[in-house]
Amino acid sequence: MTQIDSIALDLDLQAIRSQFPILSRTVNDKPLVYLDNAATSQKPQCVIDALSDYYGRYNANIHRGIHTLAEEATLAYEATRFAVQEFIGAASAEEIIFSRGTTEGINLVAYTWGRQHLKAGDEILISGMEHHSNIVPWQILCQEKNAVLKVIPVSEEGELSMENYNSLLTEKTKLVSIVQVSNALGTVNPVKEMIDAAHAVGAKVLVDGAQSAVHLDIDVQALDCDFFAFSGHKVYAPTGIGVLYGKKELLDSMPVFHGGGEMIKEVTFEETTYNDLPYKYEAGTPNIADTIALKTALDYIQNIGKAAIRKHENELLVYATAQLENIPGLRIIGKAKEKVSLVSFIVKGIHPQDIGILLDNLGIAVRTGHHCTQPLMKRFGIPGTVRASFALYNTKEEIDILIAGMHKSIKMLS
């Protein structure tokens, strides 16, 4: 489990829960117990208000308008870029590219940097616990370039060994693309160590921060990663907005991705020159409202403090793990020493989907299935898991409801 600072960092849970309107609704006549935060987090009222405020007060297209609304919208949009820069410790706001989410960020790197740099026989290294979004773009690229995709194996505990990793790293490795926190296991990977080792053989590193950005302190400069991608909707922001961080010299040297709109400097029928960073990678009218609301979400997290959030979520993880382990026939998938707040499990003789259906009838939202990590499920020889993932607004009482729901579901299905 993640080590937590010993200082008192208790959250006012009642106050926090009251800031998330959805938590007061019922599902199937039961109070909602939302434990599917690794899929998407719920939104605080301030984020919902930020969207409403933009559309109700200063909806306008950005960057080129001369009128007041356009100016206000542009300033708010660009303020998010600075907030993201601070949130992940980037050296400059030019290194912050807005995307639709983690998947688009990874694809951007594959289609630009990857196409530019990969040649036949080169190798890309990923891990056996990657989400499909961090597998498929590299498969496509490797097929196109006749390059090789190599996979770091996952241990029975759900960890990667540095020994295995180092043995797969060669001078042919051009890119390591690695998830910082596994969405299916909760494992926290030693990305700093992995980045240093990759750089030693001349490889670049992309960190998939989809699950880590909301839990861990991210400092891309300290990590020295070359790219870092994450999604807004997992950090209490709206869907449809994400971030790709890239080192400036890399982004500057890479070819463009989508063509049109903001990414141009000058267009003639004979030739087009491209805009400077970060706009070079932001073609067309961007997702203005959701980008603006992303800043509100990041401010919300920063105001509470990641250390306090992490302490609370870790308490939930420890509590849930202990309670679940007491259920006969239940097996937790993913027992890494370093984990964040999710528990993935199966129950002997019972399909995860059946459990998910019955828990839903009790108002409990968990995720069941392969979590878009089919190779990982295959490695464990299971069709999928039940996954309970926690956020800052979850409580021990909700875990008690989950445990009672599990007992009831198992009894009905046995």
């Binding site: 019972i350 399909h351 989907q353 259906i357 019955l358 009838n361 299935g369 069709p383 999928g384 009905m412």
Partner: protein, 147 residues
């Protein structure tokens, strides 16, 4: 061989479900149906018969006899298997045109639409589509044989 019309079978299922007081009773009935549906013989559990969903897997096999279509199926999830059992009860043994015309409104009526529609385009919805595809194929074969 006489076969009860599809709409009548659906009506009976809807009536059965109307007797349940709680969601627990309803699901226990479906789970029981799932447990009672005989496991599909291993020879039928082949890739061609697999309807792979995002979560559970359904196997479906069909046969054509005396102008009627007969289905056998299985699933690795017992609630899905219970729903599959009902689909077989409703559709198996009917003429292809009856199967093709069936609206299967009972699934909505008994409150199982979420399970039908879930997991993208896969699962039960794909199974119904596959059952109708079989019916269409057998209808076409019948038409050709008559010529």
């Amino acid at each position: 061989m006489s076969q009860q019309p599809i709409l009548e079978i659906e009506k009976e299922i809807i009536e059965d479900f109307s007797l349940f007081d709680s969601w627990e009773d309803k699901y226990e009935y479906i789970i029981d149906l799932g447990k009672k549906l005989p496991a599909l013989e291993e020879e039928y559990k082949i890739a061609d018969n697999k309807i792979k969903g995002c979560q559970s897997t359904v196997w479906l096999a069909a046969a054509h006899e005396d102008g009627r279509v007969f289905f056998k199926a299985d699933s690795d999830a017992v609630i899905v298997k219970g729903l599959v059992s009902m689909l077989i009860k409703v559709l198996s043994g009917h003429r292809p045109e009856e199967i093709l015309e069936a609206r299967l409104d009972f699934i909505r009526e008994i409150g199982m639409m979420t399970h039908l529609a879930q997991t993208r385009s896969n699962g039960l919805l794909a199974m119904i589509k596959q059952m109708k595809n079989y019916a269409f194929a057998y209808q076409t074969i019948q038409g050709l044989e008559k010529k």
